[in-house]
Symmetry: C2
Subunit: 454 residues, 2 copies
């Protein structure tokens, strides 16, 4: 076959890129587990009616069909896929909600889970927007009720993971938070009842500017000029500490818009900002114009920007649902956040923010003197591996110079010579006697590492 060409929207990494992606996933998983989130995976497919339940055609679901299905239909052999229709999941929230309902009897609540998997959306590919991409989600789901403090924990968990990734060259993040109760309380306090119309208008603020939003608030939400001005004033409030809460409270008092819902929302927001100030100073920012998702979220909402790469869009979003799932008898509230792993990794690679110390796992290449002594090289390799050192044996008994170049091309730092019983650091040229039962590489050479570029 001729050289294949890439498929737009389906990113693949070379081995170096995969080391970066795997490191990001490992750090996320380890951080999630330090907070007690148990890992699960769900199947890639869900019944189409569930995927489309909320009119989610905007996610451009991929529908599955078995190749031989048409023949079988013709011959009268019906199959599940035909009967029910299966599609690839477009996020990990819909499958998780189904998993909770399906397995509720076997889970203990509140149930904290992490889930790191591919998802698929047939949208038009753009920078940072793919048709196949990896997400890393955490959610806490309660049975009947879920205390507010989990809305504080969830963004702090990802903030901690991102702090660990800053060590390898990831830029700083800002986790922008808002609270549906604050916006809804304020809006209703102003006398505007169509809260979702207000949110949809405010959501366009960054795109069309305040004047156009004021017009929209009038036409879509029935706001007077004064009401629109008040909504825009709220949307401009932004800050890292509890003074944000005081500013909203003062504004509402001045406009006579204060009420219980607003008060509850502000108490929650204050609690979140105080905890964030202790745990991750400077990372969480209350931003009262954040409106995306507030049509389905019922409390906190989170969006995360990579500082200096704001135009990439959010790399980590989520919020609180009063009803993540429900079987009629029981309602399961939840709060969660989803890291866009592919979006983040593709930017780390394309902007050359990070690099890797080598592209193969091996720290050592054991040279082969001649093919008849390969078993001796294998023995040295086995002795090193038994102590956890990644090793490969030279592919051929070429001249040693060629074997050293083979290591060099892969970034393998050490070459072992069995006959002389010596190991050479091919970067410095230093060659020393070594015993395969005791020698080990320095920690920084043991495994490939992801490091900040340049």
């Amino acid at each position: 076959m001729a050289r294949p060409t890439p498929l737009s929207g389906f990113p693949e990494w070379l081995p170096a890129g995969r080391i970066v992606e795997q490191h990001v996933i490992d750090v996320l998983r380890r951080t999630f587990e330090l907070y007690g989130y148990a890992g699960i995976e769900t199947r890639a497919v869900e019944p189409l009616d569930q995927l489309l339940r909320k009119g989610e055609t905007s996610k451009e679901v991929y529908v599955l069909r078995r190749l031989q299905e048409d023949d079988e239909q013709a011959t009268g052999r019906g199959h599940r896929e035909t009967e029910h229709g299966l599609g690839l999941h477009f996020d990990l929230t819909v499958p998780f909600a189904r998993y909770v309902l399906e397995h509720a009897g076997h889970l203990t609540f509140p149930f904290k889970r992490h889930q790191i998997q591919k998802v698929w959306r047939g949208e038009r590919p753009q920078d940072g927007r793919f048709r196949e991409f990896c997400q890393a989600d955490i959610d806490v789901v309660g049975m009947g009720e879920l205390p507010y403090h989990y809305e504080v924990e969830v963004p702090l968990v990802v903030a901690e993971a991102f702090a660990r990734l800053r060590e390898v060259g990831m830029p700083a993040v800002q986790v922008l938070v808002n609270n549906r109760k604050v916006v809804e309380g304020f809006t209703r306090g102003l006398g505007l009842e169509d809260v979702d119309a207000v949110l949809r208008s405010v959501d366009k603020l960054d795109k069309v500017g305040p004047e156009a939003v004021a017009t929209l608030l009038g036409s879509e939400a029935g706001a007077s000029a004064e009401q629109a001005a008040a909504v825009l004033e709220l949307a401009q409030i932004r800050g890292e500490d509890a003074s944000v809460v005081d500013r909203v409270r003062d504004l509402a008092a001045r406009l006579g818009a204060a009420n219980d819902l607003l008060g509850t929302g502000l108490d929650e927001l204050a609690q979140l900002l105080e905890a964030a100030g202790r745990a991750a100073p400077g990372v969480l920012v209350a931003d009262l114009k954040i409106a995306r998702g507030l049509d389905y979220y019922t409390g906190s909402v989170y969006e995360t920007v990579l500082v200096g790469h704001e135009q990439l869009g959010s790399i980590c979003s989520g919020g609180r649902y009063d009803s993540l799932a429900s079987d009629g008898a029981t309602t399961y509230p939840g709060v969660g956040i989803s890291v866009g792993v592919s979006r983040l990794v593709s930017r780390l690679l394309s902007s050359e923010l990070v690099t890797v110390t080598r592209t193969v796992p091996s720290a050592v290449l054991v040279a082969v003197t001649d093919e008849s002594s390969r078993p001796e090289s294998d023995r040295v390799a086995a002795a090193l591996r038994a102590r956890g050192i990644p090793v490969e044996v030279a592919p051929t008994a070429a001249k040693f110079g060629k074997q050293i170049r083979h290591a060099d091309r892969r970034g393998i730092p050490y070459v072992w010579f069995c006959e002389s019983g010596e190991v050479k650091d091919i970067r410095s040229g230093a060659q020393v006697p070594a015993d395969p039962a005791t020698w080990e590489p320095p920690a920084e050479d043991w495994w490939p590492r992801v490091v900040a570029a340049g």
Copy 2:
């Protein structure tokens, strides 16, 4: 929605099962990397014409269609999927061959890679046979040539991984090996030219028995009664050491069937059995009746049975291809093996061979005295996590007895009381003063562990 029901063929694990699966994957990945195999992932989809290139309809490919595609076609907006047709990959070999051709200029050869991903086949689900399942593959691919010793390495890498998994309750394995050159050389030496017809007949041996196979060899491969008897005699040869090679050599000499191809194949097989005898005694077994895959493999072929669970089928198969991929100018030979992770894990779980020490990551539950002191509990948790100890904080400030029961239900071994500054091992009841800056759990309690059941 009502309680959802499982989809046949799409397995999902509860958190305990996922700990087992994740452990299997982690051990495989770690072992692969100790041997220098670099991790990659490929996209889930390939062009349909590539998936069906070898008439692979038996794999029942899942075809993808974007939900809005029909509308777009009607309005004249063509899209790639429609033009080319995309399907979900049914293995990791076809995508890897394409990856090698696509990225050859950025890879160094021989290229050793591992790949652990889901694959999909719309076949009828059975015990151990799924529509969505996880495979863990290693392959070595050369540019133009690939030395035989990689055919020795590949089965020994998985044998080492399986040895590590025996420590947590996985049964012993037998890796059955054969060599296309031996079978083809012997068959041609007998004067039978339709080698593939011989292989297809021998492949049915376990199912239909030697008499029926003898008949098949006559009708399908044109074998005389003597030729059929000779083929069946070869197929009965089986053993762990190089005496197998002597037996084949003697048989061929007796029948006058010796030739160069047979000689080469027997030398290779001897090399493999000798290396296996050193590295993993008792695990590799030469079994001359293994014929599956010998229509496309050109040298070694591997099948792996779980001892005591032979009816499950192979949990790990592979072999050597002289042409894994080719772009016309360059041919890429390869050798690889694929572990059926889902098949293995589902048997470990369904036969209750393994269990886990707990179903959540947390080693410690920090109790909460009252909601106003939650920040103090959060501080203790943060101090423990800073030293890598997985911790969760109690969901509510319930009575301590209830908080202890919460830990107990999850299998969390330790409960921390901030007011008294004490930690309780809830299994023994022992409660001792502890400092969050220095206390740590014993190693066996640190993370959930997979252990042999019973």
